[in-house]
Assembly symmetry: C2
Homo-oligomer: 424 residues x 2
């Protein structure tokens, strides 16, 4: 089925600023709360939130097989379960409804009042009930930087790294939507030169610049996914901040991996941008050497040219951009990650989330964490307000952004932001 | 409130064999499917499954604040959310209903036919929707054995082990109820002496003899639990087999911990035995040295004397018991595990599950995994059918059991079993 929603020459009758992440070619999916305390599934065009439940009730999705209450939900899980054909039909239809040449909704004020909200009048919510969350470690630059700092520059990568997308299970309960207030976590740490740990606020809170993808129900318990089909099960992507407390992590992580250093909070952007919307920005990923084992081999282009950015905004100050990276630097593709995840028969469900791992680029200004940007705090970053940062201070807001751009269209994710408040 | 359900002199008018794990003093909670395709929440007495939704509809829970549909659910999550007072009221009432001196249900055949099923006529299901699952590593004997085998007998435990309950996030989607058929997983492994990994069926499938506890909603995002309140949030326990593919684990686990070696399947026993029912078997855990940091200090007895057992049953043969261990060997208590989990503000929800980690005892016949029992396969175990086992063979059923016993009563968990079928 043709993705007519992606037509780059299409314009909307809703006003969209030129630099907007959300032109009519994006049509992401999310969940929001209206001033009338109604939770609904929606999309976003420019600075407007669109109520899909209202559109459905007014019969704008006629002919598309949807249950009556599919958009009257607190999460996207059921809609995601409907599968790719339905996602495409709905996205194509939404593009038609808001196309400047379509008068149907445009000229019906009564309908418009039920369907269209100013974004500032709604509260965006966590879009999915995340059953399981995996975080991968798929940027070669990031893994090399960390291995160089903490182990051995000559053997920065463990032998397994080049053969499989290393990953670990993360905590779902503490994944929150952009804007949710966070607290500096407490935990056990071992201070330099000491032999006895102490308990107290982490001194080394960091961000990790990541993306994450959300799946539909992919495979039954005990079955695996063929890599040629893996992308069919990916609904879309978000920008993801895998907040990390480096001092807690250092003390706790052997031998079973990161635990409380990560589970205090993880922030995602609210609008899930579909893989379909990203299609025009498909590119090849890094050349893989050694050649992956056959179950991870896939022809064609399976990465995306997504600009990634991290900024720090101290309280009452302007922000400073501290990193510019790109999704295309990621060594292992999403298709490879998902195939590997299911290679042992592990079942993947609608709403599961898979983080990329910190995506660092090849240059020092493209590293995706303060750990790497300041090289463990050795090279503090100058902020525009004159202060310096080794890690994240109380009161700082970290803002992550992601967008794709060509000469015709810009498709973005909006902001993934969170402010660290003092430990309590 | 008094736990009258625990009265050891109480007898039921339902027949209960003397060696049963499920006397009227147990009253665990589970979910089952009837022959009429109805899913209901229930309890078990002897070889009978009791439909709590039917009891509720027939007004047997009069006076207890319960919503009408609380037992007409596919999972226990909502009932668990009701909190400890409600769990106690319901357990006490069920004990009264089935007390041999109470004629009300006993002498009402019409009601009995609606409420009581032969266990063999129903199918037990996964009792909870497990949002997050953590697996701890809290048996000192197990951690020491593994550290001795894979690293250094002189420094078998990492320095952090004695200061905090080491744990990691596990995969929820592939947790299945006892009896669910399993497949030997495939995965990447590095064969001895080789430098290039291969992909294929795991050659070293193992069981791990564990327990797990299930929580209610405990704390809000950003808050922690005081250790003195931690047990209030524990609904009950199950027996847990954390199936492990040792060869996949060895190749994949650095530096982020176990991943696909564990996520192919984890099996739990179907009936959640409440912490209340285990109360008579409360004992002190091992003495902790060094003294834990203040946030993990707790007076009193916080372990339980639960006999644990593992048996292997080859296809069409009788079983061989390969391990006898006990929950009381676990170094870190459940209260300490839960407090540590939330010490960074990580929120705990109704239905979350926390595995103990393999519970090995001090003697060689009390080790909780084949890895330890056969010492990496060096000392195979003789089976009663004359064959030998280093790890688990295709066709083998692994059966884990747990029970408490004193001179008055036996409270058990029933079986946690699963058969490994050939990889496909």
């Amino acid at each position: 089925m043709k993705i007519t929603a992606n037509n780059p020459s299409r314009k909307s009758w809703l006003k969209v600023e030129i630099a907007s992440d959300f032109p009519i070619q994006n049509i992401p999916f999310g969940v929001f709360l209206t001033k009338e305390d109604v939770i609904t599934i929606g999309t976003r065009i420019g600075e407007y939130a669109i109520d899909l439940a209202a559109l459905h009730q007014l019969n704008y999705f006629e002919g598309i097989p949807l249950t009556d209450d599919i958009f009257m939900q607190n999460t996207l899980n059921d809609f995601i379960s409907d599968g790719r054909t339905t996602w495409r039909l709905v996205r194509n239809r939404i593009a038609d409804i808001f196309d400047e040449e379509n008068p149907k909704l445009k000229e019906n004020k009564k309908h418009r009042d039920k369907v269209i909200f100013n974004l500032s009048d709604v509260e965006v919510l966590l879009p999915v009930d995340i059953g399981d969350y995996t975080d991968f470690y798929s940027s070669k630059e990031h893994a090399t930087n960390v291995g160089t700092m903490f182990r051995d520059p000559e053997n920065a990568l463990f032998p397994n790294w080049s053969h499989l997308p290393v990953g670990y299970h993360g905590r779902s309960s503490s994944i929150v939507v952009s804007g949710t207030k966070l607290r500096r976590p407490k935990g056990q740490t071992l201070l330099p030169g000491e032999t006895q740990p102490v308990f107290g606020p982490s001194r080394l809170v960091d961000f990790e610049l990541e993306t994450a993808f959300i799946t539909t129900d992919a495979n039954k318990f005990g079955k695996s996914i063929d890599i040629n089909e893996a992308e069919d099960f990916i609904f879309g992507m978000v920008i993801f901040n895998d907040w990390s407390a480096r001092d807690i992590q250092k003390w706790e992580y052997v031998p079973l991996g990161p635990f409380l250093a990560k589970s205090f909070a993880s922030t995602i952007s609210p609008w899930i941008v579909t893989l379909d919307a990203l299609e025009p920005f498909r590119v090849a990923g890094p050349k893989q050497n050694p050649e992956p084992l056959p179950y991870l081999q896939l022809e064609g282009n399976h990465s995306f040219n997504i600009n990634l950015q991290a900024a720090i905004k101290p309280k009452k100050q302007t922000e400073t951009i501290v990193s510019n990276s790109n999704f295309k630097y990621m060594y292992w593709s999403m298709a490879q990650q998902l195939t590997h995840q299911t290679s042992n028969g592990c079942n993947v469900r609608s709403g599961d989330m898979y983080g990329s791992g910190t995506i660092s680029g090849p240059t020092k200004d493209s590293y995706g964490s303060m750990l790497e940007l300041t090289w463990r705090g050795e090279n503090p970053i100058k902020m525009s307000d004159g202060t310096e940062r080794k890690f994240i201070n109380d009161g700082d807001t970290v803002i992550l952004r992601g967008f794709c751009e060509n000469d015709k269209v810009r498709i973005g994710f909006g902001e993934c932001k969170g402010r660290i408040r003092k430990a309590k």
